[in-house]
C-alpha cells in the first residue's frame, strides 16, 4: 500500500485518554481527542475519586470496565459525550502489582458503518467468559459472543490467558468462527489483538480488540517484549510481532528490532511504565498521526508494551 495515500476512514476508537492517580484522585494526563475539542476541554477539568465515574470504577473494582450506555449511568461527562457523539467507553486499568499506575480509556461513537469489537474476557470457573464487549455496528455478534467461552490455550482470549503475553492473530480461528462469517453483507472480524490485563488478586482478564477490514481498530500494531527472561537486565524491549498496513510484516526472527527505555514513544511507555498517547507529533511513525502505547506488567515490572497506530 502506498504510504502517501491519505486514509480518511474514521477509526473505530474516537477518543483515547490516560488518567493517572494524583493523591487520591485520577487526573487527566494526555490523550487524543481527535476533533472533539469541547469534550477535551471538559475532560481536562475533570478528576475522579476511587469509584467515581468510569475511570474511578476501574480503579476501585480493579478490573477493565465496558460501558455502553452513558445516560443514567455513573459516567460523569454524559452531556459532553452526547454532544461529541460518543456513546460507549472501555476503561483499562494498568496495575503494577497492586499499585494503580494509570487508567486508559477508549471512547467510541455509535454508527452503522464502523465494525469492530472491544471485548473484556474474565475468568470464571476455569474458563474465560465474556464480561462485556462493544461491537459497533456488529451488534449481532454480541449475543453470540456472550454465549461463547474459551478454556485456557484456546482461541485468542484463551491463548493470551495461557501464554500471559499479548498476541496478534491474523486469523481468529474456529472459536471466533461465528464472527468471521460474512453477515448481512458486512465484513467479518478477522484479525485481533489480545492482551492480558493484570489486576491485584490475579483474576485473569483479557482484553481483545478485533478488527474488520473496512474499519480497523488500528492500521499498525507492534508487540514488544521487555521481560528480563527475554532481554536480560538491559532495560530494552525487543519487537516480537507487528504488522503494518504500509510496511507489511514488522517481525524479524533473525534480527528483531530493539529499543531502550525512553527511546521514542514506545520507549517512553517502557521507561515511564505509563501508557502513552500521542497525536499529530512528527515523531510518530510516518504515515500515521495517532498512536497508543500500553505497558503490560508482570508483577511490578513492565513485561510487554503494545502499541497501535491509526
Amino acid at each position: 500500500m502506498d504510504a502517501a495515500v491519505l486514509d480518511t476512514t474514521r477509526t473505530f476508537v474516537e477518543v483515547t485518554e490516560i488518567w493517572i492517580p494524583d493523591g487520591d484522585r485520577l487526573v487527566q494526563a494526555g490523550g487524543n481527542y481527535g476533533s472533539h475539542g469541547e469534550f477535551e476541554a471538559i475532560s481536562g477539568m475533570e478528576s475522579f475519586a476511587k469509584g467515581e465515574g468510569l475511570p474511578g470504577k476501574a480503579w476501585l473494582e480493579e478490573r477493565p470496565v465496558v460501558l455502553k450506555e452513558f445516560d443514567g449511568s455513573y459516567f460523569k461527562r454524559t452531556e459532553a459525550a452526547r454532544a461529541a457523539g460518543l456513546t460507549s467507553a472501555v476503561a483499562i486499568p494498568v496495575f503494577a502489582d497492586t499499585t494503580l499506575k494509570a487508567v486508559l480509556v477508549l471512547l467510541c461513537a455509535d454508527d452503522d458503518v464502523r465494525t469492530g469489537a472491544i471485548e473484556v474476557w474474565a475468568e470464571k470457573d476455569g474458563l474465560l467468559m465474556l464480561e462485556d464487549g462493544y461491537y459497533g455496528a456488529a451488534k449481532h455478534f454480541e449475543w453470540v459472543s456472550q454465549h461463547t467461552h474459551f478454556p485456557r490455550g484456546q482461541g485468542l482470549p484463551g491463548g493470551v490467558w495461557a501464554a500471559n503475553t499479548p498476541m496478534l492473530m491474523r486469523d481468529l480461528g474456529s472459536g471466533y468462527k461465528f464472527i468471521r462469517a460474512d453477515s448481512a453483507g458486512r465484513a467479518g472480524l478477522t484479525t485481533g489483538l489480545g492482551m492480558p490485563v493484570p489486576v491485584p488478586g490475579n483474576r485473569a482478564y483479557v482484553l481483545t480488540l478485533l478488527s474488520a477490514r473496512g474499519t480497523p481498530i488500528a492500521r499498525r500494531f507492534e508487540l514488544w517484549d521487555a521481560r528480563t527472561a527475554k532481554v536480560g537486565t538491559s532495560g530494552q524491549a525487543v519487537l516480537i510481532d507487528g504488522i503494518c498496513a504500509h510496511e507489511g510484516p514488522l517481525w524479524n526472527e533473525d534480527n528483531p528490532r530493539r529499543i531502550g527505555a525512553w527511546q521514542g514513544l514506545v520507549g517512553k511507555a517502557l521507561g515511564s511504565g505509563l501508557p502513552a498517547v500521542e497525536h499529530g507529533r512528527p515523531s510518530i511513525v510516518h504515515g500515521y498521526d495517532t498512536m497508543v502505547a500500553l505497558p503490560i506488567y508482570q508483577g511490578d515490572a513492565v513485561a510487554h508494551v503494545v502499541a497501535w497506530y491509526c
Binding site: 482461541g155 480461528g173 527472561a229 536480560g232
Partner: protein, 813 residues
Amino acid sequence: MQKLVIIGAGMASGRLLEHLFELDPDAFDVTLFNAEPRGNYNRIMLSPVLSGEKSYEEIITHDEDWYARNNVACRFGEHVTKIDRERKVVVGENGEVPYDKLVIATGSAPFIIPVEGRNLPGVVTYRDLDDTNAMIEASGKPGAKAVVIGGGLLGLEAAAGLRLRGMDVSVIHLSGHLMERQLDEAAGYLLKRDLERRGIKVHCNSSTAAILGDDRVEGVLLEDDTAFQADLVVMAVGIRPETRLAVDAGLEVARGVSITPQMQTLNDPDVYAVGECVDLDGMLFGLVAPLYDQAKVLAENLLGGEATFVPKDLATKLKVTGIDLYSAGDFSAEDREEIVLRDAAAAVYKRLVLKDNRLIGAVMYGDTADGAWFFDLVKNGADISEMRETLIFGQAYQGGTPLDPMAAVAALPDDAEICGCNGVCKGKIVNAITEKGLTGLDDVRAHTKASASCGACTGLVEQLMSLTLGDAFSPAAVQPMCGCTDLGHDDVRRLILAKELKSIDAVMQELEWKTSCGCAKCRPALNYYLVCDWPDEYADDYQSRFINERVHANVQKDGTYSVVPRMWGGVTSSKELRAIADVVDKFNIPTVKCTGGQRIDMLGIRKEDLPAVWADLGEAGFVSGHAYAKGLRTVKTCVGNDWCRFGTQDSTGLGIRLEKFMWGSWTPAKVKLAVSGCPRNCAEATCKDVGVICVDSGFEIHFAGAAGLEIKGTEVLCQVRTEDEALEYIVALTQMYREQARYLERIYKWAKRIGYDEVRRQIVDDPERRRHFFDRFVFSQKFAQVDPWSERVSGKDKHEFRPMAIVPKEAAE
C-alpha cells in the same frame, strides 16, 4: 550462459538463488521445479501460520515478482519424474529440461510410522503449507479433537497451534519426556507442565499401535490399549531425506544424497545437492542454519569457487507463544561437566554443558535472555575458565559491568539447587554455615556434601560463603598489578622465584607484559621484588624508583627538598645538634622542624645543594634517615630504665639497637617501629608496624598497627624474655613481610590479609623458619645497608644533581 536446473524450491534452494544472483546474475539460465504448487516460503514459520499468529503471505520469501525479475523459469506444482544423467536432462510431468549443472534440493520426507490406518483421510504429516491448511481446515469444526504423534519440536508446535485454533489436543510421545534430544527430564517436565496448562494433554512413554477408522480417521490406539478419539491425526515423528530421484538416477546415496564438502555428489561432477536431502559423511541437517551455510558454499562453487561447507553448532527455539525455550550445541559428548541452575518459583531451568573449559551446549527454559550469548560462546569455543562461577548467570554478570555476581547469588531463593551432583540447595548450605560455624570450603563439603563430587559448583559455594560470612571468608580474587599485566602481585612474586627472573626485562619478557617499559605502578614494584629476592645478584634499577628514593631526600611542592638525618632511637648529642645548626646556616635552609619520628627535618634545600649538605652532615657522623624510603623509617623510643622510674627495660637501648640493625633495608612499604619501656606506652608502640612493650619479665612484641589514614591498634605476636630474642623475632617478622607482601602494602594490611595466626605460626611457632628469615635479612643487609648519602657525595649518580648543560640565552638566538 549455462543452464542450471534446481529440483526443489525449499529454503536452501531459495538462499542458493539469492547468493547466486548476487554474485553473478548472468551466469546461469535457471529453471526451478517445485512439487508444491508455490515458490519458496519460510517453512520454519508454518507453526505461527497454523496457530493464526501469522498469515501465509507474510512468510513468503520469494514472490512472483522476484522470480520474474531474476528470470527464473518456474515449474511449480510439477513433479520431476526422472533425472537422465546421460543425456543431462531433467524430466518433469510437463516436459523435459536440459541442464549443464543440476542441483538436487528435494528436502525431507516425513517419517510415517508403519501402523495400520496411516493412510486414512484425516491423517496428516506436518511439512508444508498444504499440511498446514489441512490442519486449519480440520480445526474449523467446533469441538474437533486432534492427536499429535511425536513430542519433539515440530509435534509440540503443531499441538499448540491446533489448540489455539480451538481443538482439543493430545500429544503422544514415545520417550519418557518431551524433546528428549534437547532437554533433560527436569526441563522436559517443565515443558509438559506448561503445555498441560494450555489444556494440551501429554502422554509420554506411549507407543502408537494403530490408527482407527473406516473411511476416515476416528481415533488412535496405543500399545497399552488406551485409545483416543481423533478427528485429525498429525504425524510429527521425524523426517528423512527425500532421495528417490537421486537413487533412481544412479547417484550415490547413503542416508541422504552423498556429497563432498563442496556440495558435489560423489559420482557426478555436474550434479550437486543442498539442504535437508544431503548426507555429508553420515551427517544429516534438519535445522536451517547449516542449510544457509550450504547454500552459500554451493553458490560460490557453481561459479567456479572452491568453498567448503563446515557444519557448525546449532541453536533451536520452540515456537510456542508464551513458552521460552532455547537450546544450542551438543549434549551428547562424553566426559562433560554440567552446570545447572533451577529456580522452581520462577520456573527457570538452565543447563550448561562444558568440556575442557569450553561451553559445548546450553539449554534454557523460562529465561532465554542469554541464549544468543551462550550460543556465541559455543560457536567460538572460547575458554570460559575465568567466568566459570558466574557463567550460568549470563552475560550481565561477566566482568566489565558494575553488576555484582554476589547479587545473583543473594537473589537466589533458598530452594535453588546449588550442587546438582548431591542435590544440595542454597538454604541447606547457608544454614550449615551459620549453625555449625563453618569457615572453610572443606568444612562445607564435609558437612553438606556440596561441591564434594565433581566440583563444578565450587565457585557458587564460595560465593555463598562470602555472602554468609562476609569479610571473614576471602575467596581467591586476583587483582592485576596494573594495566600492563593480568597477573596479581602474588603471582608475579611467585613466578620471579620459580622462574628465577633476575631483571625487570626478564620479568616483562617471561611474564608477557603488555607494555615495553611497564608503567609507574609496576616498575617500582618489580624493582623491589627483585631487590628482595636476589639481593646479591640484582642491581637496583634506579630509573624504576621514585625520585625521592633516587635522590634520597623528600621532594617538596616547589621542587626543593627536605633532608632528615638519622637520629638513632631519637637520641642526639650537642655535637650533632651543632652540625645541624651549621648546615642550616651555611645553606640558608629556610625551615627546621622536629618530626613525629623523633628526629630533625631541614626543609627547602635546593637539589643542587644536596650533595654538599650531605657531605657536611656526613662529616658529623650522620647517615640518611630514609624519611622518604619504603624501608625502615624510625624507631621511636621512650626513656626506659635509664632514667624513667617506671621503666622496666632499656627501651632506648633496644630501640637504637633495632634501628642500627635494620636501617637501609628496602621493604614493600614504609616500616615504623617503637619501643616503650613500660605499658604506659609513651613511645606509642601499639600503633606501629612493629612495636615493643617492655615488661618486667621481658618484651611483648606487637605488630600490625596503623596510625595514618587508618588507626588500628597492634596485635600481639608473642612475649620473649631477652633483647636478643626480641631482635630475632622482629627481624624475622620483617623479613617475612619483605618476602611475602605486595608492594605498597603496609604490615597491618598484609597481616590481616594472610591472617594474624599465620604470622604467629611462621614466626613464633616455627623456630627453624624464624631463624631462616633472620639469616636472609642479615644477608640482604650486606648489600642494602649502605649509606646512600655518602655514596652520592662521592660522586655516584652525580648526574641527578647537575644539569647536563647550561645554555646562555644569547647562544640560542
